[in-house]
Symmetry: C2
Subunit: 167 residues, 2 copies
DNA sequence: GACCTTTTCTTGAAAGTTGAACTAGATAGA
DNA sequence: TCTATCTAGTTCAACTTTCAAGAAAAGGTC
C-alpha cells in the first residue's frame, strides 16, 4: 500500500517494524539504566552529567548558555532550569559574559570538576558494559556510521557546525 | 590505562567516544522529534502513543497493567499516571480483572482506536523519514541486530519472554 | 537618534516522571 | 487456619521538562 502522490509506502515492513521495536526498547532501557546509575553514583540525571562533561572539555571550563544548549541538544529553557539546579549543588556557577551583556557563561566549579573526576570511571564502566563490551569492532563502526546519518538528518537546518564529526 | 583487576580499559577510545556522542545525539534528537510530531498530531507524547499501539495489538484490545508496563519498558507508577491521563481523553478505560481482584485491565476504547487510525499514517511517515529512508537495507539489518543485542543485555534477568524477536 | 527586529536568557504554570510508601488481594508454609 | 510474604496497582511529594510569555541587550535601517 502506497500513497497516491509520492509512492512512499504507508506502513513499515515486517523487518522495519521489528527493527523499530528493538530500537525503541534498547534506547529506552539504556537511557533508564544510565539515569539510574548516575542518580545513584552522582546524584543527578544523565543529561545533567552530560552538561558537566561538556563544560569540563571547554576552554576555561565554561560556555555560553546558548552554545551549551545547542551542543547538548536541549532547549535554552531546559538548560536554564538545569543550570539553576547544578548551581544549587555548587557544581556550576554563572558569570556575566563580558562581551555581551545579555549573555551568561556557565562555569564548572572546582567542586563540579572534582565530582566529575570521582564519578567518571563508574559511568564509563557502565557505558562500556552496556554497549561496547557487547559489540564487535565492526558493529561499533557500523553503529557510529548509522547514528551520524540519523543525527545529521534530524539536525536543524544549517547546524552543520554542531556536528564535530563532519569537520 | 586499564584496571588492575580486570584489565578492562578505564576510558573510551577515541572511536568509542565518537560513536557514543553520535548515539546520544541521534537518539535524543529522534525522540524529541517524534515527541513533537505526536504532540502536534495526536495530542500526546510518544510513549503514550506507544501504549495505545500496544493495546491495539493485544487480544480484545486490552492488557493487564503490569504486562503493559513490562512491554513498554516503564514503571508501574508511570503507567498509572499515563493511563489516568489517557482515560481523561477517553482513549482508554479501566476494567476490573475478573480472575484477580487486585488486577486492572487497560482497554483501548473505540475513540482511542479511531484516534490511532487517524494519526498512524503521519507517525509512520515521520519514522520512515527520520530513519528508514536514510539507511541502506544493509544498515537497517545491522541496526536491528545491534539494538537487539543491547536490549538483551539490559533486560532484567529472566525477562526473555518479553523479547518477541527471540521467540 | 528612533524604531523595529532579533537574540539571549529567565520565569511560571502545567504536564510528566520518579521512588518510596501504601492498600488490597494472592500465595505458600506451618 | 493463621501468618508471613509476595504481587498488583495507586498515591504522594519532590523533581524535571515543556511551552508560552517576558525582560533586556544587540543589530539594522531610516
Amino acid at each position: 500500500m502506497t500513497t497516491a502522490s509520492t509512492g512512499a509506502p504507508l506502513w513499515l515492513t515486517d523487518e522495519e517494524q521489528c527493527v523499530w521495536r528493538a530500537y525503541l526498547h534498547a534506547t529506552t532501557l539504556l537511557e533508564d539504566h544510565l539515569d539510574r546509575q548516575l542518580q545513584a553514583d552522582a546524584g543527578m540525571p544523565h543529561i545533567y552529567y552530560g552538561l558537566l562533561v561538556q563544560l569540563s572539555q571547554a576552554p576555561r571550563r565554561q560556555m555560553r548558555m546558548t552554545e551549551l544548549a545547542k551542543d547538548a541538544k536541549i532547549t535554552r529553557s531546559r538548560l536554564s532550569h538545569a543550570v539553576a539546579r547544578l548551581e544549587k549543588n555548587g557544581w556550576v556557577r554563572r558569570e556575566d559574559c563580558p562581551s555581551d551583556k545579555r549573555g551568561q557563561n556557565a562555569v564548572l566549579t572546582d567542586e563540579g570538576y572534582e565530582m566529575l573526576r570521582r564519578s567518571a570511571p563508574g559511568h564509563v564502566k557502565a557505558v562500556r558494559q552496556a554497549m561496547f563490551d557487547r559489540l564487535t569492532p565492526e558493529q561499533v563502526r557500523s553503529l557510529g556510521e548509522i547514528m551520524k546519518i540519523l543525527a545529521a538528518g534530524l539536525q536543524p537546518e544549517g547546524a552543520d557546525a554542531d556536528l564535530p564529526w563532519l569537520r
